[in-house]
Symmetry: C2
Subunit: 257 residues, 2 copies
């Protein structure tokens, strides 16, 4: 009896009462195509590919949420319906094309439909994240925003060497500290602002939620072949969590000095 | 039968369907002290003074809203309960002291009370403003954020010469253009980033709502003796509205060149 439609919510907050400093965000957690939008005319293969979501990112984010005692704010619909890491006026919020794929349901989206998706997806997601951060600030906690993403091993047919990408918005502090920690203690090819950077418009969530409040923040991108299975996700979280904690301690020690 | 309490809302949006480019914000519009907070132990003289609100700002903002065909998002409670132009972790969000006045109800505000005020006032106000801006962006409009404030002729007993203060956040474009227009066409002592500037923490609304979306924005401060009466407010709006329009045209002509 339309059980799924009745239960769908535009955002999910897992472990909202977790007491750690970190707040995790996974804007591309889902490849669901809920009503009223449906599959946008995509094939099943397209709906399971990277264009629809960040494969492995949700499993990694959940494992990090457990390891860091961190809340997790995650998407519940495909980024092809609305990319929550883009503002409403960005073409990429409802992309007509992604990599080599035309998105049939996103061709010449009428203004009323852009408005409807913005109200249904973008606003509730970011309101929920903002409320979670504001509550922690009011209580005297000092949240740290970390967004969790994945990228493809191949990009237009070219292999990517980078395994871990660490990306910053206006404040490079936590990102550069995390790269230093990763290069010291992690056997992964780690790059700063690669394979994407703020210039590609990928730091919208950080710019919207962390930068105005002066919160330490970083975007983490894992090459998705490294986090395919739950076991890989768990293992990667076990490697990344202490580095995130050490990177935060590093910048706060610097600030205190 | 508790009519006032039942009707009070934490934010008011006037003329939400107005079609102009400008979106006006008046965070310090109100010196109401609604339940459950009440008067915070202040005298009537204190509750009508500048410490409680920006006298004249709402009248000016409404006259500008009419002149510019602009929506107006305004506060409905005193800034002494929650200063909507401050984030939840700022001491000034619920100030223990303002100028020479102790605020009895704001002494050692417990964390649960900071949380309650944040949820009751800060989040709904900024969610409403953000939704209004996001809807316009989704519809292909290009909003311009202008916050309207007033300041006292005397500050700790010293007279202030500045009559019009024009303040910017990260992007100085609209503010500097407005100062240029004002100095060319307005007989007011006009200063950039005076009597306050971003360094005083007064651009939180701009930093939160306009800067992350790349929207042109400016904070306007009028010396409150110039906008005491409705006639003065109307006259001032009639002088400022064409300057704001000209300043916007100036930066957009520059960008197009």
């Amino acid at each position: 009896m339309q059980q799924q439609a009745a239960e769908w919510q535009p955002v999910a907050v897992e472990r909202p009462e977790a007491q750690g400093r970190f707040v995790l965000v996974c804007e591309h957690a889902s490849n669901d195509f809920p009503a009223p939008w449906g599959d946008l005319g995509l094939t099943e293969a397209q709906r399971t590919a990277h264009i629809a979501w960040d494969p492995g990112a949700l499993g990694l984010a959940r494992a990090l949420s457990s390891a860091l005692d961190a809340p997790l704010v995650r998407a519940t619909a495909s980024r092809l319906i609305y990319d929550l890491n883009r503002p409403p006026h960005a073409a990429g919020a409802m992309p007509a094309r992604s990599e080599i794929h035309e998105i049939p349901g996103n061709q010449a989206v009428p203004a009323a439909q852009r408005l409807a998706r913005t109200e249904a997806l973008y606003l509730p997601f970011h309101d929920a994240l903002r409320a979670l951060l504001a509550r922690r600030l009011a209580l005297g906690l000092a949240p740290v925003v970390v967004t969790i993403h994945s990228f493809t091993p191949l990009w237009f047919g070219q292999p990517r060497a980078v395994e871990l990408g660490v990306i910053h918005d206006a404040d490079p502090g936590l990102a550069t500290a995390l790269v230093e920690e990763a290069r010291g203690g992690l056997d992964l090819d780690t790059h700063l602002n690669d394979p994407y950077s703020a210039a590609d418009g990928v730091t919208h969530t950080l710019a919207l939620q962390a930068t105005p409040l002066g919160l330490p923040n970083v975007m983490i991108e894992l090459r998705n072949d490294l986090i395919e299975s739950p076991a890989q996700q768990q293992a990667m979280a076990g490697r990344l969590a202490p580095l995130l904690t050490a990177a935060l301690a590093r910048i706060e020690t610097r600030e205190a000095a």
